[in-house]
Symmetry: C2
Subunit: 204 residues, 2 copies
């Protein structure tokens, strides 16, 4: 995926600026709704100069997505079968919530890709992601069987952790408007609320 390795300092800086600008634009408008003009402007470069660094609009998008999948799955990979079930799952939820807070654009880029039918992530979801989820679902089932946590459907448990945490990034605008005048930063309350929710849900 990273065949062309940047050499000079200026190349590194510009590639980084382009990817950051593209993340900003793609995460808001999706692939087809974004234009090279927007990305070039956001990156402070001309359109042809942008295409000096990347061969096409699609190449930028693919570069972003392929970098994303790994980062996105790291918290789930970190779920330790040897650890305590409830503690591990709560820690996973907290890490996912932190990612929504710290990387909301990445979350929205992913959401856009799925909404559009996952044309570029289809294989990664069907392959690596499914395989990882199935593996971790078995771990969760073993925690249930050992009486560490309640008997619950592990796949839907994972979906619920995803949806509850990513919602704060993906629907940030809506949440901000509804909580206006009440909570400037929804995350502290979100963490308290979700901790309570999963404590109660997982209690055997």
């Amino acid at each position: 995926m990273t065949e062309s390795r940047p050499r000079t300092r200026i190349q590194k800086k510009n590639r980084k600026a382009i990817l950051d600008a593209a993340l900003e634009v793609f995460s808001q408008y999706g692939f087809r709704g974004s234009t090279l003009d927007q990305i070039a402007t956001a990156a402070g470069l001309s359109k042809p100069n942008l295409l000096y660094y990347f061969p096409s609009k699609e190449a930028i998008h693919i570069e972003l997505l392929s970098g994303l999948m790994d980062t996105w799955l790291d918290p789930l990979r970190a779920l330790d079968p040897a650890g305590n079930g409830k503690a591990e799952l709560l820690a996973y939820m907290r890490r996912k919530l932190e990612m929504s807070r710290d990387y909301p654009r990445e979350s929205r880029l992913f959401a856009n890709e799925i909404l559009q039918g996952a044309p570029r992530m289809h294989d990664a979801i069907k392959g690596d992601l499914k395989e990882l989820v199935d593996r971790k679902a078995a771990v969760i089932q073993s925690w249930s069987a050992a009486g560490e946590i309640a008997q619950i459907n592990p796949w839907h448990l994972i979906f619920s952790i995803w949806s509850l945490t990513q919602h704060y990034a993906d629907f940030e605008v809506q949440i901000g408007l509804i909580l206006e005048g009440r909570e400037n930063d929804p995350y502290p309350e979100a963490e308290r609320y979700l901790e309570t929710l999963f404590e109660k849900l997982l209690a055997p």
Copy 2:
């Protein structure tokens, strides 16, 4: 919003076909990522004929969104202050899950609009939606005070009902790929899982 009322049967039929096609396309690609060509093809009409019924691409989008807001809020409006707290909230969750199952495109249209910064729904969210949510949050608080349900943040409770149910529509592709070979239809399990979750969360 509905200034031009269709007269003839054929007008009604074509307007409906256009709005249905537009829902299909907009919900997948967002406003900017969708083209009139796609919508016209999906509706079985020529592009100029489509623009005979609607003055512009934006007019179609606005028509869809303004129809959506009301339908979307009906289940929350139905939350009855006189009813039993836990039963009312579980019924709300079930209605929202049914909407994800029966109207997934509407859910994705809404998700796309929020992801793009809610340019056309901003005022409706800040106005009607916020007002309704604040009102129902007070109802939920009164249920907590009366000991009918646990003490929990009512705003985040509402967010959690939205995220958990809408996730099955918005991330349908991802869920389908992960559950492939396991559950053809995720909704029966989703309902069981979410019932358990909210039973445990709301128990005083």
